[in-house]
Symmetry: C2
Subunit: 415 residues, 2 copies
Amino acid sequence: MNIKASIITIGDELLIGQVIDTNSAWIAQQLNALGIDVVRRVAVGDTRDAIIDSLDEELKRNDLIIMTGGLGPTADDITKPLLAEYFGGKLVLNEAVLEHVKSFFERRKRPFLASNGRQAEVPDVCTVLHNAMGTAPGMWFDRDGKVVIALPGVPFEMVHIMETEALPKLRLRFTSDAIVHRSIITAGEGESFLADQIKDIEASLPAHIKLAYLPSYGMVRLRLTGHGADELQLIKEVELFSDEISNRLEKIVVSNEDLPLEHVLGKVLTGRELTLGLAESCTGGFIAHRVTQIMGSAKYFNGSIVCYQEFVKEELLGVKRKTIEKHCVVSEEVAIEMAQGARKALKADIGFGVTGLLSPGGEDRVPVGTVCIAVADEEKTASKTFHFQMDRLRNKELAVNMSLLFIWKFLEGKL
Amino acid sequence: MNIKASIITIGDELLIGQVIDTNSAWIAQQLNALGIDVVRRVAVGDTRDAIIDSLDEELKRNDLIIMTGGLGPTADDITKPLLAEYFGGKLVLNEAVLEHVKSFFERRKRPFLASNGRQAEVPDVCTVLHNAMGTAPGMWFDRDGKVVIALPGVPFEMVHIMETEALPKLRLRFTSDAIVHRSIITAGEGESFLADQIKDIEASLPAHIKLAYLPSYGMVRLRLTGHGADELQLIKEVELFSDEISNRLEKIVVSNEDLPLEHVLGKVLTGRELTLGLAESCTGGFIAHRVTQIMGSAKYFNGSIVCYQEFVKEELLGVKRKTIEKHCVVSEEVAIEMAQGARKALKADIGFGVTGLLSPGGEDRVPVGTVCIAVADEEKTASKTFHFQMDRLRNKELAVNMSLLFIWKFLEGKL
């Protein structure tokens, strides 16, 4: 039988939309890798009634509850005394935690305040999960064969406690069915086109293997998920279907691994021992930021010249004044000179340039949403124009995805 | 009485953590601005039982339910027939939607498939919310004075339907108490230090005004939230407390508006008619990306030289070989030369440089997590070294925040 889990996130900041919840996604990935199904995620405010209500509800449904948030040292945090009460215990001072909190402040040369001392109080009915990265300890509660884990909401503290304390204990506690995921990343066609192409394969999937379509910014990720007792058998089975879909969609498949586009591109550059240099106007450094999110990108990434003014394009990239005047600064002609200029200035094998108008203002010779990109190697160039129709920030996201895809296609001979 | 709302997000991709939920935060902000309290957010898988169960639960508790996801054209979407059944109706072809879907495909020169035709089927018990940006219509259901709105999960489609269709109808339908938020952004001190400094003010807050501490990457945002019938009176009252807290914490307050740091910096640069040029090594263009997220940044931002290799620092920024050799590439000396070089190469009033080691590998003369930054104007320079202790991506986030803060402090004479 599958172990079912809920994630409860506590904090008004999630309910008024001031903070985006990244903790839940990370926790879900980790539990999933243990074969634990996350079936619900709930966000509630930090009021007594809301927290108790959600605990009641989720414990009724599921075997494991992970709560995050509501454990900080300040007065808006009420979770800890509430948990003590909920599980029939009381708060007691834990000497080990107190010592840790004191040394934490000492090492940082910060004053130790009364409110920090309260961080060392824990319910006497829980197992303490050590928080090496902060002062609020995690807590593990057992009740009627079910487990409730409460963690601080600060992301790196939560991650550290999960990795060092909670996940190893969960692995021992719950053995369960295996879950196997395989993803196929495609670009350039919409969800319904894909569905039509593979509808016979989809119809032939057994009940324990599901297919999902996950579209985002010009790409669609197809994800197969299988459940089963025999993991090795399951992997074989899911991969059989994954291969079948991949072969059918061959022309638009970017990757058979669930990797971001910048990682797929990085692998090709590494494999071919090529270096990349960028010239970014409208994307404002976002492509370089994405490329450098990948560990080891220094092996193939030389740099980017973010040229938010025309004189930077001219002086650092050698774009000609007359090209700008004749064709407009948002044109494939300028993008090509930027790509060639980036290649030269950054001594890279592959140069790339992007220039566009993401939102109204400034340039009026092209419609808003026009983005021109170009890529160049020693021998040839290729360029393309897009007309995006969203708002400024979404047009920027789209421009970055389409740029990374264009460079990848150029390298793979798929343009 | 306050109107209470729940947001239900449908989709396995949220439960396995493959996608981060940004829709809910946006919806929560919009409802909040209408004076509607979001009291719960729930994410469930796209199975019949999970969706019905969550609708039952949330309708029991709240007046308004916004559902997103589960309306796409492919087979993993089961929400629409389920909603028809749940509200006692059946699916019928809507001619207006069909015409829109057909012309949508025509304009994009894409084949119109049978599965696209199904997008035009809607429950006969709902009001259709037109989706100008896509093919899946939004739906509005009324039951016993409560409202359920179902929207597609694709972010820009959801946003567009909310803005043009759902929010105006909600404004007419629900009149409610006002909610007033005021935020104070601080940097450089921890949550418990702040709480200690203002504990008398916090204790004096009336019951209808709450204070929350929201820490993130070296900064803490303090947020006051007031509820009340008389909006103007409430604004006065909340601002009184907000001013009191601001004055008490004067030395560490960055802004009294809830703006990202790059926006605060942009306002100072605009006001002083100064331009900025960056030289980014370890942050890989992330600072430039943040700066250019702000509409109108072209007025004060000249560009960034992302120098992921030493030769780029030397050739484009004029960093001296002997400075690198003597002090190490991660040093304040190199950061200063980068800042001066960026100022010169990008013809900016203010130059900034950042160099660091975010994760193991490469440079071994400094500990992992060392980041050196420097800022320069015509007359002077300032520099600082940080030792971050998180993982690569979090160290990058921290470096960006501390960089933006350092430039802001330099301009404001607060270093």
